[in-house]
């Protein structure tokens, strides 16, 4: 190994959800290769096998405390698919509100608690914005941290009111929702949402959510940075421009979305459409082309691809070739990136489309897409709440399950989540889960192709003496990873 070539193992990687270690190879001050290791295995797929299918409603959400509602939603959709039922309209809307609440809470947690504290750290002491970043975002003590936690707690009152609690609500059912909402509940929900709106408009954006949602091109963003309303958003724009975050963390620019908030858009369509966005174009999603590769996962059955209905989860603790408990999902043998950026780009949000056209998926565009989604989804939640109809049904009776299979597809804050359920003789014969971070943080595959994060880390600058390169931290956290889901 030459003088300039070095290796570094980074971990424990904190301010992400769950356990993550990254091995870096570096030369001349840049990362030349990265190996991403999910260091924990839990194996929910095996816990679910052999149980009554309805138990999935209790077990599956407990895969993850940060995405528990999305896990719950995917399980309910898969069960509904096998039962051949569709949820009551009220129940579908209530489930969307519940899911949106979790996604919004996640976006807020990510921005304020996980991502921004890195800009309040030593390496940036000399930057012109440092004092303001430190004052607002220093871990545990920044002036924006406490109010955001209070706003998040207020937002989660939506869960207390209609879904019992968060995390691990059982309110989402295959036939709809377990709690009816009456006229008072509707008004109270709107009051909670208006409290959240006021807090975000005051501190995060400095202006109406509608102005954020209407952002249409990068020039408007530049103008906002120069003389837009004061707020955390504007400070982020200033930091991002100074540090050229747009040049950091580009992966494959293949964006996967399963479609978000069923029935939540116009004319019964999902709010955000499903599909693959690649080479600057939308493509329909071919679910049959999804398969998982175990070559570098510490899993048995390495020699073949695993389409999820036929997949297996057999951990191989003795394996030395595998370097992660995370499998490598591929769509038509290609890695894909998923998340808020994928949802917004698939939806054709003009600013996000323009940013992706200019510099692809990167640290900057991922964070912008997330913040735009905060504004867009909160506005939508108000509309959905008004559409709830007290007195109309909330839940249709569950069907019986003998034998059958179905997939439940939804979107967690951090991207595409699927549960592939196979039932035989009333028992779960197969349950395979592909979580968003399984896509984003997958290890290499049989072709040696790195996962999206592994690809995104190549070229990251490393300053001399850095033991945990700050550029690497920005890139890793820009995906808002959830390792708990990854290793389920």
């Amino acid at each position: 190994m030459s003088e300039a070539a070095t290796r570094l193992i980074v971990g424990p990687f904190n301010r992400v959800e769950g356990d993550l270690e990254v091995r870096l190879e570096m030369e001349d001050g840049v990362v030349t290769a990265a190996f991403v290791n999910a260091t924990l295995f839990r194996g929910f797929e095996r816990i679910l096998e052999g149980r009554d299918p309805s138990d999935a409603l209790v077990i599956a959400p407990r895969i993850c405390g940060i995405c528990s509602v999305s896990q719950s939603h995917a399980a309910a959709l898969a069960l509904a698919g096998v039962m051949g039922i569709a949820p009551a309209r009220n129940g579908q809307i209530a489930a969307n509100i519940t899911l949106a609440t979790e996604n919004l809470a996640d976006h807020l947690t990510h921005f304020h608690l996980f991502f921004m504290p890195d800009f309040a750290r030593g390496p940036y002491r000399d930057r012109p914005w440092f004092d303001r970043a430190e004052a607002r975002f220093a871990a545990l003590r920044g002036a924006s941290v406490r109010p955001m936690m209070q706003t998040r707690a207020l937002l989660l009152h939506v869960m207390g009111l209609i879904a019992g609690h968060w995390p691990h609500t059982l309110a989402i059912q295959p036939g709809g929702f377990s709690r009816g909402v009456d006229a008072r509940d509707k008004i109270k929900l709107l009051a909670i949402l208006s409290g959240v709106r006021a807090a975000l408009e005051e501190r995060l954006f400095g202006t109406a959510l509608e102005r954020v949602a209407a952002l249409a091109d990068p020039e408007e963003l530049s103008a906002w940075r120069m003389h837009g309303p004061e707020g955390d958003f504007r400070l982020f724009l200033e930091i991002a421009a100074d540090l050229h975050l747009e040049t950091l963390g580009r992966a494959y620019d293949r964006f996967l979305c399963y479609g978000a908030y069923p029935g939540g858009g116009a004319d019964g369509a999902p709010l955000y459409p499903s599909g693959l966005f690649a080479h600057g174009l939308e493509h329909p999603l071919d679910l049959e082309a999804i398969a998982e590769d175990h070559t570098y996962a510490r899993m048995e059955n390495r020699g073949l691809m695993h389409p999820p209905f036929m997949g297996s989860t057999s951990p191989d603790g003795a394996d030395e070739q595998g370097y992660s408990w995370c499998k490598a999902p591929r769509l038509s043998n290609e890695p894909c990136e998923t998340g808020a950026l994928a949802r917004q780009v698939m939806d054709g949000q003009p600013l996000v489309r323009a940013l992706v056209a200019r510099a692809g998926g990167n640290v900057f565009s991922r964070v912008i897409a997330r913040l735009l989604e905060v504004a867009r989804v909160l506005i939508q939640m108000e509309t959905w709440t008004k559409a709830l109809e007290p007195g109309a049904p909330w839940c249709v009776p569950a069907g019986t399950i003998g034998t059958g299979r179905a997939v439940g597809l939804t979107e967690a804050a951090r991207g595409a989540l699927g549960h592939w359920l196979r039932v035989e003789n009333g028992r779960i014969a197969g349950y395979q889960i592909i979580a968003p971070t399984t896509w984003n943080f997958s290890p290499r595959d049989a072709r040696g192709l790195p996962g999206p994060l592994e690809r995104a880390l190549i070229g990251a600058p490393v300053q001399s003496g850095e033991t945990t390169p700050v550029s690497v931290q920005h890139i890793v956290r820009s995906f808002d990873p959830c390792m708990a889901c990854t290793v389920h």
Binding site: V10, G11, P12, F13, N14, R15, G18, D19, L20, T39, L40, F41, G43, R46, I47, S54, L57, V58, I59, R62, C64, G65, I66, S68, L113, P117, A120, R121, A139, L140, V145, R146, M149, R152, A153, L156, H157, V158, M159, G160, L161, G164, H165, W166, H168, A171, Q173, G175, G176, F177, S178, R179, D182, P315, G317, P390, A398, T467, T468, Q473
Partner: protein, 333 residues
Amino acid sequence: MVYNVLWLQSGGCGGCTMSMLAAEAPDLLTTLEGAGIRFLWHPSLSEATGAEARAIFDDILAGRLPLDAFCVEGALLRGPNGTGKFHILAGTGEPAVDWARRLAAIARHVVAVGTCAAYGGVTAASPNLLDACGLAYEGFYPGGALGASFRSRSGLPVVNIAGCPTHPNWVTETLMLLAAESLSEDDLDPLGRPRFYADHLVHHGCTRNEYYEYKASAREPSDLGCMMEHMGCIGTQAHADCNTRAWNGEGSCTRGGYACIHCTAPEFEEPGHLFLETPKIAGIPVGLPTDMPKAWFVALSSLAKAATPERLARNATSDHVLIPPVTRVPRRS
């Protein structure tokens, strides 16, 4: 006085941390500061990452940083084959279960946050490929990663803040009591749970109690009736104050319309029947309130059923109140 807390996560979902962040009145940071509680390191909240975090662990083990409370969230994984390799603490090459044993040995108090860390929880559900267990319990049985006879430096056994997830205030109030030296062994129940919340039943304060009284029962999700008879609810046996201490403003499982699955108990993950359906023998639910003779229960419920007012019978299977309680206007004399 500062009370130093180190928080590690192992085989769990992170949900107890996520729940704790929603503490209110006051918020988490204000609550902890007010009680002099400081995180030496917490995986979701702290600035230090990678080598800096490892340096903090080293300082603690070397005695340079006093460790008052060692909190573990998530089950401890002993597999495969006793190696602990199903969870290597990132960046250290060493199993998380070994870290937990070393840190527990020097901590003044050891706290299991959540049912996974307390008893194994869902992570230890069958077939338990992971050989997962709690810090000082394996399901109902003392043992676990630290052993049945474990005592922390203070002399207390592991404090088991069981729950899946934990209520934010169960965690903050336990830490505050420990920091104030106000939690003794007598304040823990036989399963190591703080009695301030475990001496209550979920049934207490359940908004469906009137339906319970008359066995006016829900049949489907979204029905208003009692969920004990058909829907798998075991709130009459479950130790927790969920219905007298609101979750996320005004919630609880039963208020959300779904069954209490007794998540503060060991082995709740293996009830031996479907979670959301009440097992019955000859039409009578198995698992009646633990301190009530079965014959009396059967006799009282048949009587209560016979006496069920039309209002409760009809409302029980509706998603909203069809018949309101009668308003009586006193006659003017």
